[in-house]
């Protein structure tokens, strides 16, 4: 017989473990940025990431000086690593907003301890992604503004029928809303840091960043509203951005691109990739900064489950692509599938993709793997690789053999394709390291709402009530300007 308590525990697992109070939560999270000496591993990691980021700097310079011919792109394969990387990074960027916005609206409390760095990850991934559509053009100095509908004397507007223009709007909107969402969520925490900072400079900086937040009821009220509105704005964006990115392909008529399944399939893939990246980041983070109390096993298990679910949607997408290839009755579609899966020169990548995204996630059905940090980490890495391969397969194997066999050619990356890609990874981790050092990696005030202290009325109380509760206890536990 399960006791009530056990049943309760099973139905509503604690999202904060350990014996925490409001104060200890603030201490624990705030100290990462304020008190603790910067750990040695941070310097090592940052140095490596920063060095790798220099590859990006150099490649970009070389690229602007010489043209995109330094890459391997060629006549039939006009897009390759550039757009693969773009779609990959944009996909990774999806989990953050999904966690922050959709899970917020769905009142999933477990989001609170992972949303902060998931959002940061989103921003940084979008920053990496946004580089590619610009730099992949032949003349980026013109593309940088010709793609925007700015008024000009010539009366020339962008071509609104082109999915690339939709991309410009989708990605820039997404980046803006994500940034705002992230920043709005940070304001109360910046205030906390301001209050606790000893260093004058940091105190000053955090003071500026926190916009005079005093934690008054009015502040909280407005904050709540703003946060909710932004969540509402972000929610459709989660679906729209990657749908629109997928339209880059499905609007074109190349076999392998021209498919109606692309928008949902890409969105699922994006969430899939995003959660994999969140896991890749949070598993080491919770160890290095001893955050196991806040990012609990339960979180990891939940994320594993989301990965499994979205991964299965993606696998369904693969199956449908193959099915369409056969069912369409079009010889070009059929050839494309044949070429992609077994006859073409890139068959190996297709099967590697199936292994990474299809086979590896099947282990998540089993508790043993789902609950093992190690296996989750490994599977996440495999999935990230798999999602990159998915874009490779879609882009390169569709383009390299299309309608007229006379134009078929092979694509192979050249050194600058690789340095550009690796460079963005370095850039991404550079930003992540800076984020970890200067910004609370977990939302302090939101985690506090998860504490039993915040739930004096039991589990059924909603988010608003818990916030009010915090407000009530705020003065007692954490007086400002101590």
């Amino acid at each position: 017989m399960q006791t009530d308590k056990e049943l309760e525990q099973k139905l509503h697992p604690a999202m904060v473990e350990g014996d925490h109070t409001f104060g200890s939560v603030s201490d624990k999270i705030g100290d990462v940025t304020l008190k603790k000496r910067t750990p040695f591993h941070w310097f090592i990691g940052f140095a490596i990431a920063f060095m790798i980021a220099q590859l990006l700097l150099f490649t970009t310079m070389w690229l602007l000086a010489n043209g995109i011919g330094i890459w391997g792109n060629n006549q039939p394969v006009g897009w390759a690593f550039d757009i693969i990387n773009f779609v990959w990074w944009i996909g990774i960027g999806h989990a953050g907003t999904l966690i922050s916005a959709i899970l917020l609206l769905l009142n999933q409390k477990w989001r609170t301890s992972i949303n902060r760095f998931a959002e940061a990850m989103t921003l940084f991934a979008v920053a990496c992604a946004a580089m590619f559509p610009l730099l992949h053009t032949g003349r980026p100095w013109l593309a940088a503004y010709w793609l925007f509908p700015y008024p000009n004397t010539m009366g020339i507007w962008p071509q609104f029928r082109s999915p690339l223009i939709w991309d410009v709007f989708a990605v820039s909107t997404y980046a803006t809303v994500s940034l705002l969402f992230w920043y709005v969520g940070l304001i109360p925490d910046f205030a906390t840091l301001r209050d606790r900072a000893k260093n004058k400079f940091f105190k000053f900086m955090y003071a500026i960043l926190s916009w005079g937040w005093r934690g008054s009821a009015r502040h909280w009220h407005r904050y709540e509203l703003a946060y909710l509105i932004l969540a509402g704005l972000s929610t459709p964006l989660v679906l729209s951005v990657h749908s629109i990115v997928s339209l880059d392909f499905s609007v074109a008529q190349i076999p392998g691109w021209h498919a109606t399944i692309f928008p949902p399939y890409f969105v699922a893939g994006a969430i899939f990739a995003g959660f994999a990246m969140v896991l890749i980041l949070c598993i080491p983070l919770r160890h290095w900064y001893r955050m196991q109390d806040f990012i609990t096993h339960t979180h990891l298990i939940y994320m594993g489950k989301v990965m499994l679910a979205t991964g299965l949607i993606v696998v369904y997408g693969y199956a449908m692509e193959a099915f369409f290839g056969w069912y369409s009755g079009s010889q070009y579609e059929y050839f494309m599938i044949k070429n992609r899966i077994w006859e073409g020169p890139y068959w190996f990548f297709y099967w590697l993709l199936i292994f990474c995204n299809g086979i590896s996630i099947q282990f998540l059905w089993f508790k043993r793997f789902r609950e093992s940090e190690f296996w989750l980490f490994v599977i996440s890495i495999i999935v990230s690789l798999g999602m990159w391969l998915e874009r490779f397969v879609i882009i390169v194997t569709s383009l390299n053999r299309d309608f007229l066999p006379s134009s078929w050619a092979m694509y192979s990356p050249r050194i600058f394709d690789l340095t550009m890609f690796i460079g963005t990874i370095g850039f991404f981790f550079t930003l992540i390291y800076l984020f970890v050092r200067f910004v609370p990696i977990i939302s302090i005030f939101e985690v506090r709402t998860l504490l039993p202290d915040a739930n004096v009325h039991g589990h059924q109380q909603d988010f608003d009530e818990s916030v009010l509760e915090i407000e009530y206890t705020y003065d007692k536990t954490d007086p400002p300007n101590q």
Partner: protein, 1094 residues
């Protein structure tokens, strides 16, 4: 204080360094360290350091040399611009309007055959050549070599000065020293003087040599070039007893048999034109000719033949005899027993077309085959009908060129040659291995003079090198294949003040030795009856019309065809009787130059009868050895090596295998399998063919080819030979190509490919036996197409003529627009008011000669990207010729050719995806490209199903070389890096015609606009015009039932459509088989009257 001597030294050094280019700076500086002038210069400059100077390389010395070299190199930038005055035209020269091109008639000669051209000139710069419609050897079309000659003229690697042992000298020094040497030689009547030229048919040059014979009676004139008519002349001698020039009349031939004759290769433009007259299918002309081909190496002629037999080269004489026997040549017997049914059926067909059949023989076939062909043509009654004979145009034709060379070499070895004057040609490179004009031989000649466009292998071994004139820079003349003479006029002052053969030969005369080429040519023709004879009434009319133009320019119109019609209009002008004999000569001279032909100079047919006695004479023993036969052919792109430094020709895909930038050796799939060649790559290269569809020849962007050591008749080719598997190549026959392996070609051509002249021997000039051995290494062969299999798609249609006539609707396509939900009438209404440009390409006519590719490149300023970029599949040709093999890999159907350019889709997939409106639809239905607006997303290229868009991945255009700046067509934008480009139906020509039409307030006439590819096409496969005009040529071709849209199911509604190729198959032939895609039909489609609404 610098002394005057020092200044001079300085000037010498500077001049010498400035003469070098690019990397040469460094090398030359090293050389200068040893040069006495340099040492002196430095010693004067730094007297206290003279001792140190001679030290072996020390740090100080290094720094000094570097410093000096930098200083000297930098002098290039310190030259003070000369004080020049720029005076604008006060009165503009007549016929010259800035921005308006003029066309001048001239001709380009190759191997003694001239092809008449109209060169297009802007403000004194020739930028494009077109065919001369009045010239029999051109008839308005040209070939790749003529198209590429523009680049050849502006080639910055051309030699630019007279040199003596590599040192720059003036022409005056040369002429005085040469004349001093001639004076020496006059004593014995020039017994030690030898002239070595290529095949010469220039009447003026022949005349000069004839006259020289009276001054230097003992001098000798030797003609030799690697690809010559020796075999034809020897064969004619066999059959007729005297050498004759054979002139074919393809337009009169209904059945043609080619015995290894690559009829469609370069410089046969006139013949291809004639052939096309009998081949082009239309409602009015349904009886098309039939081409049989017996050949060893597969060529485009064999590919287009209705029936082709691939045999070993050594079998050809016996096959020819077997054919002779089958057509009933008296006394013919043959030991050849294979393919008896094939020969019998073919012979029956020939016999049934007595007087309308024709047997042609390739120049690389032994004399006996030529003789047999003469006998067959005689027996079939073709002589005088489809083939006529004339006296040879080139002097000394009764003596084979090879024998002339052999004699010369013997004399050189015997030390009898005191002075060798090499006029054009590169004999040091092209002479056969056993008669090589190599260093020891050259050293035996006390004075060696070379005239040539490049400081090539021959120039290196000669004392004197005179920089030659390009044919567009000098006066000369030449004869077409039928003997018609053309006076070639220059289009531009010589870029480097070069000289041509006329001027060098003139130096040998006592009198008038410094005559200019114009005077020489003019003087010769002034004495010729062709010009002095009183013009007939009709000609006088034409003269009167033409002399209205003071200049020799044709007229200022956008294209030569229109120019011709304008000229026709001129002939209607009232006749003005020639005033006097002098003005009559002037008129005739002007008319001859203006028209590009000297009237009535075609050779008079000569009546000869073939004597078949030769059939019984014993033949020279065939070379033998081994089971592997090797054939040597001139390269289809760079010919015998004289065009090796031409980037356009280097990048021009070889018609059959699309290889660029080098020569390969062709081998059949079965032989490759037997000899284990290229098997390491991918078995599927063969398996595709074995399944009966076609074959795949792919491993990546380029083909990894086995590099083999090739020996031929005992000689070994120095560089390893890359092998290329070619279906259709006969088994156990390997074909190698001349023209590569050059050591001093220039920046483009040096070092590319292997040199077939390493092994070519005088006793086996064209084919022999040899062997190959693996080196164990592989090399990348770069080709622009790596997949030659249509994969069962409806891309290139080739049908049997009879099947098509039985069911003309067999290829009817459903118009996809009918399935559209959107009303398209509205869309169509936009075009009602405007011209509606369209193009039709007849795949029956197209012979895959590539001329359109280069015409497009020349017209549209398309850059050359280089071997490495082609390897990465980034070639820039706006127009490409796709080649597909079909059928069995060992006996392929075809290959067939399909020129693909922008299809100008009405529903263009590229337009909707461009984010910046850089590719937009014009009101006349063109898919325009706005280069300035393009940001280079390449989305349009990805979405183009025809993959005709080309992207400037790097800065491919050469913005710096000054010569290239002159060469470019000023009407077409020079595209920069990062921009997409593509064909726009020569929109600049459309614009020009529109301006002309608007000036006259009339609609644009049909045929007024001729696109570059259309103008150059020797088979008239391309038709362009306004589709609204129901009477226009293009509207008529659009109604042809053979018409189809490429990738019709995508509903792109292309304006470029194709007409299916036809094979005029003989059902009685044992190899009769319907073409693979003969009966392709869309199921359930109701045949309608009009297939394509757009």
């Amino acid at each position: 204080m610098p002394s005057p001597e020092q200044k001079q030294n300085f000037a010498i050094l500077r001049d010498r360094i400035l003469a070098q280019e690019g990397k040469e700076y460094w090398r030359s500086v090293e050389e200068f360290v040893d040069a006495p002038e340099f040492a002196e210069f430095v010693s004067r400059e730094y007297p206290h350091e003279i001792e140190e100077w001679d030290d072996s390389l020390s740090r100080r010395k290094f720094v000094k040399v570097m410093g000096a070299s930098l200083a000297l190199a930098g002098l290039a930038g310190c030259v003070i611009q000369p004080n020049e005055q720029i005076v604008p035209y006060v009165k503009s020269p007549e016929g010259q309007l800035p921005g308006k091109p003029n066309f001048y008639a001239t001709a380009m000669s190759l191997a003694g055959v001239a092809v008449g051209l109209l060169a297009k000139q802007y403000e004194g710069r020739p930028v494009k050549v077109e065919g001369n419609p009045d010239h029999p050897g051109s008839q308005g079309a040209t070939d790749v070599l003529a198209q590429a000659s523009i680049l050849g003229m502006y080639d910055p690697d051309r030699s630019q000065e007279v040199t003596y042992r590599g040192n720059s000298k003036s022409w005056e020094t040369f002429s005085s020293e040469l004349r001093a040497a001639i004076e020496e030689n006059r004593k014995d009547g020039g017994a030690g003087v030898r002239f070595l030229t290529e095949t010469v048919t220039s009447p003026t040059l022949i005349d000069q040599f004839t006259k020289l014979k009276s001054e230097l009676p003992n001098s000798k004139w030797v003609q030799y070039e690697p690809v010559n008519k020796d075999n034809a002349m020897a064969g004619a001698k066999m059959a007729f007893g005297s050498p004759v020039q054979t002139i074919y009349k393809f337009d009169k031939a209904e059945r043609i048999l080619s015995l290894d004759c690559d009829l469609f290769s370069s410089f046969n433009v006139g013949y291809i034109k004639d052939y096309a007259k009998g081949r082009n299918y239309s409602e009015e002309h349904k009886e098309i000719n039939r081409l049989y081909c017996v050949e060893s190496t597969i060529t485009i002629t064999g590919a287009k033949a209705d029936h082709r037999l691939g045999v070993k080269p050594s079998q050809m004489p016996e096959i020819a005899k077997a054919i002779a026997k089958a057509v009933g040549v008296a006394g013919a017997t043959s030991s050849y027993t294979e393919n008896a049914a094939w020969i019998a059926a073919m012979a029956k067909d020939l016999v049934e077309h007595r007087g309308k059949s024709l047997v042609v023989v390739g120049d690389n076939q032994p004399p006996i085959v030529h003789a047999i062909a003469h006998a067959i043509n005689g027996t079939l009654g073709n002589a005088g009908q489809t083939v006529v004979y004339a006296d040879p145009f080139s002097p000394n034709s009764d003596k084979l060129q090879l024998d002339q060379l052999r004699e010369l070499i013997t004399e050189i070895d015997g030390g009898q040659v005191k002075m060798l004057v090499i006029l054009d040609g590169n004999p040091v490179y092209t002479t056969p291995a056993d008669l090589k004009l190599d260093v020891p031989r050259m050293n035996k000649i006390p004075m060696r003079v070379h005239l040539g466009s490049y400081s090539d292998e021959t120039a290196e071994l000669c004392h004197w090198h005179v920089h030659g004139k390009h044919y567009l820079e000098g006066w000369s003349d030449g004869r077409a294949y039928d003997g018609t003479a053309t006076i070639c006029q220059p289009l531009i002052l010589p870029l480097y003040d070069g000289k041509n053969a006329h001027e060098v030969v003139q130096l040998f005369f006592r009198e008038n030795f410094d005559k200019k080429d114009y005077d020489i040519v003019r003087a010769y023709w002034s004495a010729q009856s062709a010009l002095t004879a009183r013009p007939t009434a009709a000609a006088a009319t034409a003269t009167a019309g033409n002399t209205a133009h003071a200049a020799n320019a044709v007229t200022s119109t956008s294209n030569p065809v229109a120019a011709k019609s304008a000229r026709a209009a001129n002939t209607a002008a009232p006749a003005a009787a020639p005033a006097s004999a002098a003005s009559s000569l002037e008129d005739s001279w002007r008319r001859a130059i203006h028209n590009g032909v000297v009237a009535n100079t075609a050779a008079t047919p000569k009546s000869v009868t073939a004597n078949t006695a030769f059939l019984n004479q014993p033949q020279p023993a065939k070379p033998s050895g081994g089971d592997l036969e090797i054939s040597i052919l001139p390269d289809p792109c760079v010919y015998d090596g004289r065009f090796t430094n031409n980037g356009w020709l280097q990048e021009l895909p070889n018609p059959l295998n699309k290889v660029t930038w080098e020569n390969v050796a062709l081998v059949s799939p079965r032989t490759a399998e037997r000899l284990k060649i290229n098997l390491g790559n991918d078995k599927r290269e063969f398996s595709g063919g074995a399944r009966g569809t076609a074959f795949i020849n792919t491993r990546g962007t380029n083909m990894a080819s086995d590099l083999m050591t090739l020996t031929y008749q005992g000689g070994k080719i120095e560089k390893p030979v890359p092998m290329w598997i070619t279906p259709g190549q006969p088994d156990d026959v390997i074909t190698i190509f001349m023209g590569y392996g050059r050591t001093r070609a220039g920046r483009i051509g040096t070092g590319l490919g292997y040199n077939a002249f390493d092994v070519r021997r005088s006793d086996a000039m064209d084919h022999g036996f040899g062997s190959i051995a693996a080196t164990g290494e592989q090399g990348n062969v770069v080709s622009t197409q790596i997949h030659f299999n249509m994969e069962g798609r409806d891309i290139l249609r080739v049908w049997d003529l009879e099947e098509f006539e039985k069911n003309p609707m067999m290829g009817h396509q459903h118009n996809e627009i009918d399935k559209s939900m959107y009303p398209h009438e509205q869309h169509e209404a936009v075009y009602e008011k405007n011209n509606k440009w369209g193009m039709t390409i007849d795949l029956n006519s197209c012979v895959g000669c590539n001329a359109c590719v280069l015409a497009c490149q020349s017209e549209n300023n398309i850059p050359v990207v280089g071997k490495e970029q082609v390897e990465r599949h980034r070639m820039m040709h706006w127009l490409r010729v796709d080649t597909y093999f079909a059928g069995d890999i060992d006996k392929p159907d075809g290959p067939s050719f399909q020129p693909v350019l922008c299809q100008q889709c009405e529903q263009a997939p590229c337009e909707v995806v461009c984010p910046v409106h850089a590719t937009v639809h014009s009101a006349e239905g063109l898919n325009d490209m706005v280069y300035n607006r393009c940001v280079g997303t390449r989305y349009c290229s990805n979405n183009c199903p025809y993959k005709v868009r080309r992207f400037n991945f790097l800065l491919y255009q050469d913005w710096n070389t000054p010569q290239y700046k002159l060469m470019r067509n000023p009407e077409v934008t020079i595209r920069s890096r990062g921009v997409m480009e593509k064909c726009t139906y020569c929109t600049q020509r459309i614009a020009q015609a529109r301006i002309e039409a608007e000036k006259d307030a009339r609609p644009i006439r049909d045929g007024e606009i001729v696109t570059a590819c259309q103008a150059v096409c020797p088979t008239d496969a391309i038709t362009f015009g306004d589709m609204h005009d129901k009477e226009s040529a293009v509207a008529k071709t659009k109604k042809d039932h053979r018409g189809y849209n490429l990738l019709n199911e995508l509903n792109t509604q292309p304006r470029t459509t194709y007409l299916a190729g036809l094979r005029n198959l003989n059902k009685e032939m044992p190899d009769f088989k319907l073409p693979v895609n003969n009966a392709r039909r869309e199921d359930g489609v109701e045949p309608g009257p009009e297939g394509n609404k757009y």
